[in-house]
């Protein structure tokens, strides 16, 4: 520990570097509506609903098997499926397919929990003295990292990647830990609200992460549009002597996206693997470069684990959009249905034309059902007016889409090939790297639905490659079966042949003897039956 302390002094003396830049992007209006009432309301705490719905899917959207049965009582934080915990004390009433937040309105197998009346409240996180906090963090960091499994920590930025996997997948150690406090999409303000409300808990969570990952440097990236939040956080960081430097980055969408943020903070673009092969080309992961990005919400959740052994079972959600009557930020227990969130904040849509969306205005999508539950990925719920569609015009080849693309793709060409279903060409032009940020859509003067087309083409390419794999497997089984049938036929022929040979090889005498013996047997049988 002493070594670390010495190193710490040296590190905190280091001046924070200036941020780098990235290609494209857009300056959007981020006067966040959901934050307008922050001063009067802070982060609203929602009551616990009578029913919580926990979808049984993992990060890759694969189904997972539950570890609990119907009628079983579950405690808050109990593991109910691998990687999934119960968000409250209650009884499992059913396990059945339920709608979840999905652009297609699909259902997945879910655990429905009837919450019990005497559930423990969510007391505000207590903030110990700097010395006590360090002691707590030290003893937590000494435990094996697998303890984190119980915390069910996942990224709270919107994608929901399991944090433990992220840390563990950096085999060669972690060089740079980036704390993502950029939150660049308009309307989304949950991270900013959290920084304003509980900066100490975030700072302590960050210190815990620094100790857990043994990183060489930790940089907190905050956009320059959040001066107050930055000030709060930086005070907390000084108070607790956290080994992290704050980097103020320009407000430009989509700097909060993982790849872009890494570029802004380190000046490096993640390289491609097999860059020359259109089929196997893929982006290297940050952890391969010794970089890990963690959302500040996740850091906050980690402190809750350290301080009171509480797993991640709630998050702050921004409620915004032009038709949201009471825009605000609320802390919602996972599994709470969207309509409960809206009614508890007096935001139930008053006309049928209001579209309720999940996710930000650019990255989100319309919800099919308000029964869908909030999960770790739901950073924002929007209520928007009915959508007026502008018909797309032919492309005028202005090239603006390529200018704003943060991944340096060629949206115009990609759109052409995606529309003509030329998936090979799309792969060559690196469609898989598109982060679906929507910048190209926003600037296109011809109102071409570029991002929508890319989402479609990406999912179709994935589907087709899955079909191909299935076809290969079917072919293998078909071959195996043919072999088997051939073998069986050959065996049968061999057996017949053998019998024929056997008959032939017996000499005539023995054959006549056997016939005689058979006749004899028949006669005695007849006799005995007559008697």
């Amino acid at each position: 520990m002493r070594v670390r302390n010495a190193w710490r002094k040296q590190f905190s003396a280091e001046k924070p570097r200036a941020p780098f830049s990235f290609h494209g992007g857009l300056k959007l209006d981020t006067s966040k509506r959901a934050l307008t009432r922050f001063n009067s309301t802070g982060i609203k705490e929602l009551p616990l609903p009578a029913k919580l719905v926990v979808p049984l899917i993992d990060y890759h959207k694969n189904n997972i098997e539950p570890l609990v049965n119907i009628q079983q009582t579950v405690s808050r934080g109990q593991i109910i499926a691998p990687g999934i915990i119960s968000p409250a004390y209650g009884t499992v009433s059913v396990i059945e397919p339920c709608e979840f937040i999905h652009p297609g309105g699909l259902s997945v197998n879910s655990v429905v929990i009837d919450t019990h009346a005497n559930n423990s409240e969510n007391p505000p996180v207590s903030i110990p003295s700097a010395k006590a906090a360090q002691a707590m963090i030290n003893s937590f960091a000494e435990q094996p990292i697998e303890t984190l499994e119980q915390a069910a920590l996942v990224g709270l930025g919107g994608a929901g990647f399991p944090t433990l996997h992220k840390i563990k997948s950096a085999n060669n150690g972690i060089h740079t830990l980036i704390i993502n406090a950029a939150e660049c999409e308009p309307e989304i303000a949950c991270d900013e609200a959290l920084m304003l409300a509980e900066p100490e808990a975030i700072a302590l969570g960050i210190e815990t992460l620094v100790q857990l990952t043994q990183c060489q440097q930790c940089i907190i990236a905050i956009e320059d549009s959040k001066p107050l939040a930055q000030q709060q956080l930086s005070e907390a960081i000084n108070t607790f002597d956290v080994n992290a430097a704050i980097m103020t980055i320009p407000t430009r969408y989509p700097t909060g996206a993982e790849t872009t943020l890494i570029e802004v903070v380190t000046g490096k673009r993640l390289a491609y693997r097999n860059a020359n092969s259109p089929t196997t080309k893929s982006q290297t992961t940050p952890s391969e470069h010794g970089i890990v990005c963690i959302n500040i919400g996740t850091a906050h959740a980690l402190w809750q684990m350290v301080e009171r052994n509480q797993a991640l079972d709630s998050r702050v959600v921004s409620l915004g959009g032009s038709n949201m009557r009471n825009p605000c930020n609320v802390r919602v227990r996972f599994g709470t249905p969207v309509n409960f969130v809206l009614s508890a904040t007096d935001n139930t849509p008053d006309n049928a034309h209001t579209r309720i969306r999940a996710g930000g205005p650019l990255s989100g999508f319309d919800l099919h059902s308000l029964n869908a539950p909030i999960t770790a990925n739901t950073n924002c719920i929007l209520a928007e007016a009915a959508f007026i569609e502008t018909p797309a015009q032919p492309c005028i080849r202005c090239g603006q889409c390529a200018d704003v693309c943060p991944v340096k793709l060629l949206p115009q060409q990609l759109h052409w090939y995606a529309q003509s279903e030329d998936h090979d060409k799309c792969a060559q032009l690196n469609l898989a790297a598109c982060i679906e940020c929507g910048c190209c859509d926003l600037v296109c003067p011809a109102s071409i639905k570029l991002t929508e087309t890319f989402r479609y083409a990406k999912s179709t390419a994935r589907f087709l490659s899955e079909q191909n794999q299935k076809a290969d497997e079917a072919e293998q089984r078909f071959k195996n079966r043919e072999e088997r049938l051939k073998q069986r036929e050959a065996d049968r022929k061999a057996a017949i042949e053998k019998r024929k040979q056997a008959v032939k090889s017996q000499d005539k005498k023995t054959n006549t003897d056997r016939i005689k013996a058979a006749l004899e047997r028949a006669r005695t049988k007849q006799k005995s039956s007559k008697d």
Binding site: Y456, F463, R477, F478
Partner: protein
């Protein structure tokens, strides 16, 4: 004419005849049996076929159809499960024009999988023998079931079932194979 000149002429003629014969041999259409170029082409064609193994093309499986396309000049529009997409891919590979699907082979249907009504199944094993891709499990006199993940929806198990307990249904869309709708 001197003798050496005559001999030279004969030798020259013999050489010409020999070269001509060799050229004729080389330019003859190569007997295709076992030729590796064709084998590769068959493999490529087979890769483009959907591997449903339904025999609607009139061949006992996709590979036999691929063989027929290359060796017997069978038209490329006889595979209903593959539909227009497969025909277009085949046309591109073989440098021919895409034809509309031969409707005498069948219509292209949306993806489907077989499902056995397990309460009616008498365990006769006939469907197991019919399934070209080993997607049905069960034993004599015991209930049978379809491994829906492995079923190609070829319908070959329907006719043999004596109690008509097999149905084809469209599979439930799972989150992994859901696709964003195509923008208008």
């Amino acid at each position: 004419m001197t003798l050496p000149a005559l001999v030279g002429l004969v030798v020259l003629l013999a050489a010409l005849v020999f070269i001509g014969a060799a050229l004729a041999r080389l330019s003859r259409p190569i007997n295709t049996e076992g030729h590796s170029g064709d084998e590769q082409l068959i493999e490529k064609v087979n890769n483009l076929l959907p591997q449903t193994q339904c025999a609607q093309c009139g061949h006992p499986g996709c590979r036999p159809y691929a063989y027929a396309i290359i060796k017997q000049r069978e038209p490329i529009n006889r595979c209903p499960p593959g539909g227009d997409r497969t025909i277009a891919d085949l046309a591109e590979l073989l440098g021919t024009t895409a034809l509309p699907l031969d409707s005498s082979c069948g219509e292209q249907k949306p993806i489907q999988v077989a499902i056995i009504d397990e309460s009616v199944c008498i365990g006769c094993t006939l469907c197991i023998h019919a399934c070209p891709v080993d997607a049905i499990v069960g034993a004599g006199k015991l209930m049978h079931t379809v491994i829906s993940d492995q079923c190609t929806g070829c319908e070959l198990c329907l006719p043999p079932c004596p109690v008509d307990c097999i149905d084809l249904v469209s599979p439930a869309t799972s989150t992994s194979d859901w696709q964003w709708p195509r923008p208008a």
